[in-house]
């Protein structure tokens, strides 16, 4: 059966050339997984309820402002759970007007209302809850991407996983602790006025004036290393947040040579900052980051420039990282680490070495076995195996698949399985020969009869690989990918390519009496 020989040779040559092209240069084209080159794999859970709470808080402020604009007195607006607002009007007199305000706030629906008490419970609509949660994860992801970009990581991968998880992969990061701190910081910057009338000592013991809260400043004594917590009583109301910043950078104080972060507001922020400093001269303004007071300088005069400084005894690395997170913006909700896998670069190098050695040893063992057992045919199968490995690597490069340590294991296993197809075919040819068929008839029968079985064996392995891919995390996925590609490639190499070589050797015009198998 020497049909279409030129075409078949052409196909094999084309595949080899395509593979070589995809693979060149191998250092750049083969994407090493985190377990091989070292790096961090992080799964973060976004605390979406916290995002809802702060959204509700902001909406509550808007509703209060709207009501007061209409001259409706509000005695208090409180959050209940993470999706409800309880509004207590000063009196039930303006009930109808208030109802109009509530109706205008489209995100809410009225859950309970009690006209005589002047009390309304507003619940966030289900659609809005879903939208806000989604937004929190989306914005969180973007913010983290921004921070990582500024931190400088080559080829980071940041993906959403499920409803509220974010998967982050940072290859080749040398300082995992720093990267994690940078990613996980909420970085909510708030400016709040210090309540000068309140007694901070008394407040720290529990008597906090209405509308105030106690926040702490953490100070580490340089000599002793002891951490001190200094309480501040501040107004609950946030006057400005990090949202209004346009930029942040590290500067060095000329006198103390300590690094600090200087921030600049955008035009709207600068206007608000100017107004608030104008109205509160000689009061202290607390600069609060993630609930911790960093400093609380006294406002000497109106500041029209829209610039401010955040000091607080930073090291220069801390200051650099703070500037990065401020520029990238705050996370809309806190995140926590659900899963982390960090591999140091030295272990990765070890794994590569061992992986290469295993691949080599397995190849040598299988190649020798095939040559000894099947002689020339075994050698052809070995050629097919070599071609299989080339195609496998090229396909991984072409699909931008990642080579992991389990992926290398998959390649080693592929070496053992790829020759199975040839064994099935060769054994069948031997059997046909024994039954007295001619060499050519035996080869024909061997290939065609073994084909069904070969397909079966491929399908079953592919089913397993598909399930592994669907289910597995990073490294296991790598195993599934290399196993699946290797098995598919073996269809081409062990059947198509081997058949071609057999045809070239045994199906020519010459008479053939024996076959080396």
């Amino acid at each position: 059966m020497r049909r279409n020989l030129p075409l078949r040779i052409g196909i094999v040559v084309a595949v080899v050339i395509l593979s070589a092209w995809l693979l060149y240069p191998p250092k750049k084209t083969i994407n090493l997984g985190l377990d091989l080159q070292g790096g961090i794999h992080l799964v973060l859970g976004v605390d979406v309820d916290k995002a809802l709470e702060s959204y509700i808080g902001r909406e509550g402020d808007l509703i209060r402002a709207e009501l007061e604009k209409k001259g409706i007195g509000v005695s208090r607006i409180e959050r209940r759970g993470s999706t409800e607002l309880v509004v207590q009007l000063a009196s039930p007199q303006n009930w109808a007007d208030a109802q109009n305000v509530f109706k205008a706030a489209g995100a809410f629906e009225t859950k309970e209302s009690d006209q005589t008490a002047g009390r309304v419970v507003l619940a966030l609509r289900a659609r809005e809850i879903a939208a806000q949660r989604d937004e929190a994860v989306r914005v969180g992801l973007e913010t983290i991407r921004n921070r990582i970009d500024q931190f400088g990581v080559a080829e980071p991968s940041i993906q959403r996983q499920g409803d509220n998880r974010i998967l982050i992969q940072l290859p080749g990061v040398q300082d995992p602790e720093r990267a994690k701190a940078l990613i996980g910081k909420t970085a909510l910057l708030e400016f709040k006025l210090v309540d000068e009338r309140a007694d901070s000592e008394a407040a720290a013991r529990g008597t906090v004036p209405e509308g105030d809260e106690v926040l702490y400043q953490r100070r580490v004594e340089k000599e002793s290393g002891v951490e001190r917590k200094i309480p501040y009583v501040v107004r609950k109301q946030t006057l400005l947040t990090g949202r209004d910043l346009s930029t942040a950078r590290v500067s060095i104080d000329q006198n103390t040579s300590e690094p600090y972060v200087s921030v600049e507001f955008n035009p709207a922020g600068a206007k608000a900052f100017s107004d608030l400093t104008d109205a509160n001269v000689n009061k202290r303004l607390a600069i609060v980051l993630d609930g911790n007071v960093h400093s609380a300088p006294v406002i000497r005069e109106r500041i029209p420039s829209g610039r401010a400084q955040i000091t607080g005894g930073f090291t220069s690395q801390e200051a650099t990282d703070l500037a990065i997170v401020l520029r990238a913006g705050a996370l809309p909700a806190p995140v926590n680490v659900l899963e982390e896998r960090t591999v140091g670069p030295s272990l990765g190098a070890d794994s590569i070495r061992r992986g290469l050695m295993s691949t080599l040893m397995a190849s040598v063992a299988v190649i020798l076995f095939m040559v000894i057992y099947y002689r020339l045919s075994g050698l052809i199968a070995d050629l097919a195996l070599a071609l299989n490995l080339v195609i496998l690597m090229a396909a991984m490069a072409g699909f931008h698949a990642t080579l992991t340590l389990p992926g290398i294991a998959g390649i080693v296993l592929t070496i053992g399985m790829a020759v199975d197809t040839n064994i099935l075919i060769f054994e069948r040819i031997r059997e046909e020969l024994r039954s007295g068929k001619t060499v050519r008839a035996s080869i024909d029968a061997g290939f065609s009869r073994a084909f069904r079985t070969v397909i079966d064996t491929h399908v079953t392995v592919l089913v397993s690989a598909a399930i592994l891919y669907q289910f597995g995390t990073g490294p296991v996925k790598g195993f599934a990918v290399s196993l699946a590609i290797g098995i598919l490639a073996s269809l081409f190499t062990a059947v198509f390519f081997t058949r071609l070589i057999f045809d070239l050797i045994y199906m020519g015009p010459r008479r053939v009496e024996t076959v080396s198998i």
């Binding site: 659900l338 272990l347 794994s351 059997e431 079953t460 598909a466 597995g472 198998i517």
Partner: protein, 318 residues
Amino acid sequence: MLQIFVNARYDFVGKRRWFYFASLAAVAVSLISIAAHRGLNYGIDFTGGALVQVRYDKPVTVAQVRQGLDELKLGSAVIQQFGDVREYLIRLPETDLKAAEISARIQEALGKAAGARVEIRRLEFVGPQVGRDLQLQALYAVLAGMIGILIYVAIRFDFRGGVISIAALAHDVIVTLGAISITNREMSLSVLAALLTIVGYSINDTIVVFDRIRENRGRGLRRGQSVADLVNNAINQTLSRTILTSFTTFLAAVVLFLFGGEVLHDFAFALVVGVVTGTYSSVAAATLVMDWELWSSKGATRGAKQAVKAEAVATKKP
């Protein structure tokens, strides 16, 4: 020509009771071991917790590592030498520590206790929620794998073939899990990957034998040939194939076990066991065909031989 089992004439069917006995015994031992260990020893992938691989710049003892850990009061840590005397694997149960803090504090405490420099080579932290998710998913994955194979074999052959194949696969999975349990290895994600690979791979030999049974049956039973002969012939004719294909894969798995490094150790171990038991079970499973025939033709008045003949004609028709 180098050949094995050329004119093999083993009476597998006649000895099938021994196969059943051996398989049932292996499954029983596996289940007893798993029960005695109070279930599988799930790794942190499934339970949550932390795993830290550390390397000292000089040899240290387990006691020194323990001393460093005790200062952190992290609960019951398991310390295991990993490779040589400078490298250790530390398993921590769920701790209150955040992932971000674990590595820095361990590095400091271990270094202080041993008076050496410590490198954190690997840190894996899995939150309890993620672990619980994975445990369920792992079960689903193995079941989905088996069901996928069942469907394929049922379409490709018949329902009987599917059921027998699944019995063989379940046997392989249980025995491999048993070997994991007996050798006190951990059930990790990579072991799960090995199990699924076995599910996909060990069915191959079974298919080869089934294919041959069908092929031979298609020719019809010759005079004086029984179903036992049919099955025996099929197993013997494909015996060299079964052994050789498994052998090459076995070679690859053993190489991984010996040279793949500590990280792949359990994975390769599961593969080696799975390939061996998978090869054995494909032969044993084929003899089950015999009993199925006897059982399904019981009650037919003319006895097993004729019934099978009639069926052979029926399968030939389409």
